[in-house]
Assembly symmetry: C2
Homo-oligomer: 368 residues x 2
């Protein structure tokens, strides 16, 4: 099942997988898809280098990509400490109150908060890119707007196409103007940062807005029927993130979280600013509930303050697997994530489901 | 383009159209689709009878349906006046303030508020049904939960299948238990009352939940590519509402409103309780903005109070075409409603787009 884009990128199937786990990215690439490693969790360039070495050794020369989070607008000369100082005490106290209400212990002595997202800082993202350009990365994606022009130029000099996520047609047009090669249309139902427009409407709107650029459909895709729908809407492939979270290759670091994902229904997510300060779809938890509007609640801070505010709390929640608060970004397809499967099994299901959907459509067309 | 369901119902295409306008319903049925007339705006049974006579005379013996709004739970012995008395003065004053801020004139002397929705009252819906069962209606739909058991039985005795809208798999399961024959999966992107789950996820979830009952996909469908996507997701057809609003057969009663619909983008709708008290997707206007949460704003009342509260205001806004406040329920596909076309032209586009999408999918499948 190949589109012009997947053929250009050297993948057998038009299935693009975004994942923070090198083992998932490698398995997807080996299964004929296109694995894209999310770099946002890597603080140090050395850690990324280690994992790219591993990825390179486990993909048999097949193609994979890298996703960084690089804001187009620079924040010049502001240190992380200075940003930390902008967080109001009321919010810090509110976080302490939530943790206390759920008896969340401190991290063990000497254990540092590993959860902190620093990849969104331009300096970090740039050091990641310096590493990445030493590897035969076949796609560079940016989860936060168009990357800066010099990064796009550098990628293009290396023959690497650049993809960027968009939640609206206007957003997608700006990517096109910035020289982006591929637009990922991120629908309302997607996990992580999302806009308000659902994939069914967003995908064709973005295809029309950036024509002739190729578009990937993200949001709502976990089965081959949904993949067929995405391609029917004019996408050149599907960009899947959530479905990999319950694969056997994924390392969520918490069995309790895996169990919660397997048990969740399609209505058990919420679009919330509780994690990063920007609206992102997350598993609904006591944590996201606590950040909903309401009396005596301060509400989330803007990005990047909210992410810094909640970083240590999240590490503690995950470290001790405090079930009511335990969550993750995930899309509405979480309702269909009912069993743990290998990445290969997911890809097999996707291609078989696609074939089934296509046979069904052909039968519908023929019935006169 | 025929599914098992459209064949059973005697339609050439698996295109179901919900509309308050008899001329649209008739044109769709004549074009090979299945027109469904919404009865909620009919206060008097005689008006409905007149329009069903017209519909019968203009559909050449081809099939059409009727959509009523009938709550499963009766509110016994409460009059409309008693319900009116439950509306707080603060809300009445707020409505007056909005109208004053936009200089909305009173209705002309002797002109009554025609906008009031009374069809949601069980007594009204039942008198509509008494009329409807005298006509060869081929489908009875209910926009508000499962209809009462005696209504389902009466329809079944007459050989008429019953459809009901659902916004979640659980909701759909309850319809199945109530003996409903067809479930309309109403996605987040749809116009009118909607849940939180987008069509891409909701449709296959509902198909799975009510198997082997047929499911129609509603929400996000205005093109043949979207129709193909809906069928790929396992639906037995698509249920379209918004796309008919800008057809030449539609009678919105306001050129200004038609112009607003033609100009709107996919992000220009909002899921709001401003019109009926239940979350419904509406064109975003100064009216919906005024009912968003905020200081000094009372926020919407629950159904049915909000609908009664705003009825006269809506009549005045429409009567005088007060542009900033002028709106209608409409889905996110409003962004693609760029020109006025006949219903026949819309159907032609749908079937051609379906064929195009299918050819594309077959090419993708063949490319090895």
């Amino acid at each position: 099942m190949q589109t012009e884009l997947s053929r250009q990128l050297g993948a057998e199937h038009a299935i693009f997988g975004f994942t923070p786990f090198p083992a998932v990215a490698a398995a997807l690439t080996r299964a004929g898809g296109f694995g894209v490693l999310g770099a946002v969790r890597y603080g140090a360039a050395d850690d990324l280098k280690r994992d790219l070495d591993w990825l390179e050794a486990h993909t048999d020369g097949l193609p994979y990509g890298l996703d960084v989070v690089m804001p187009a607008q620079k924040v010049e000369g502001v240190t992380e400490d200075e940003i930390e100082a902008m967080i109001p005490e009321e919010h810090r106290q509110y976080v302490r109150d939530i943790l206390a209400a759920h008896d969340v212990p401190e991290l063990p002595e000497g254990e540092r908060s590993g959860w902190r997202i620093t990849g969104w800082m331009e300096s970090v993202a740039r050091s990641q890119l310096d590493v990445a350009f030493d590897y035969p990365v076949k796609l560079l994606a940016n989860a936060l707007g168009s990357p800066p022009p010099d990064v796009v130029e550098r990628a293009h000099r290396g023959g690497i196409p650049v993809a960027a996520l968009a939640g609206s047609p206007r957003h997608a047009e700006r990517h096109k103007e910035a020289g982006i090669d591929i637009v990922v249309a991120q629908g309302y139902e997607a996990g992580g940062h999302t806009g308000e427009i659902a994939s069914m409407v967003l995908t064709p709107e973005v295809v029309r807005a950036v024509d002739p650029l190729p578009v990937l459909c993200a949001g709502g895709i976990g089965s081959g029927e949904q993949l067929a729908a995405a391609l029917a809407l004019g996408a050149q492939g599907a960009w899947l993130g959530s479905v990999w979270l319950t694969t056997t290759e994924a390392d969520l670091g918490s069995r309790a979280l895996t169990r919660k994902l397997l048990a969740a229904g399609p209505g058990d997510t919420v679009r919330s600013r509780a994690l990063t300060g920007k609206p992102a779809r997350l598993l609904r938890t006591a944590w996201t509930d606590a950040w909903e509007a309401g009396e005596g609640r301060p509400g989330p801070l803007p990005m990047p303050l909210q992410g810094l505010l909640v970083a240590e709390a999240n590490s503690r929640i995950q470290r001790w697997e405090v079930e009511p608060l335990l969550g993750t970004p995930v899309g509405q397809i979480v309702g269909s994530m009912d069993s743990e499967r290998s990445v290969q099994a997911v890809v097999d299901d996707l291609t078989r489901g696609f074939d089934r959907a296509l046979a069904r459509l052909n039968a519908i067309a023929d019935r006169h």
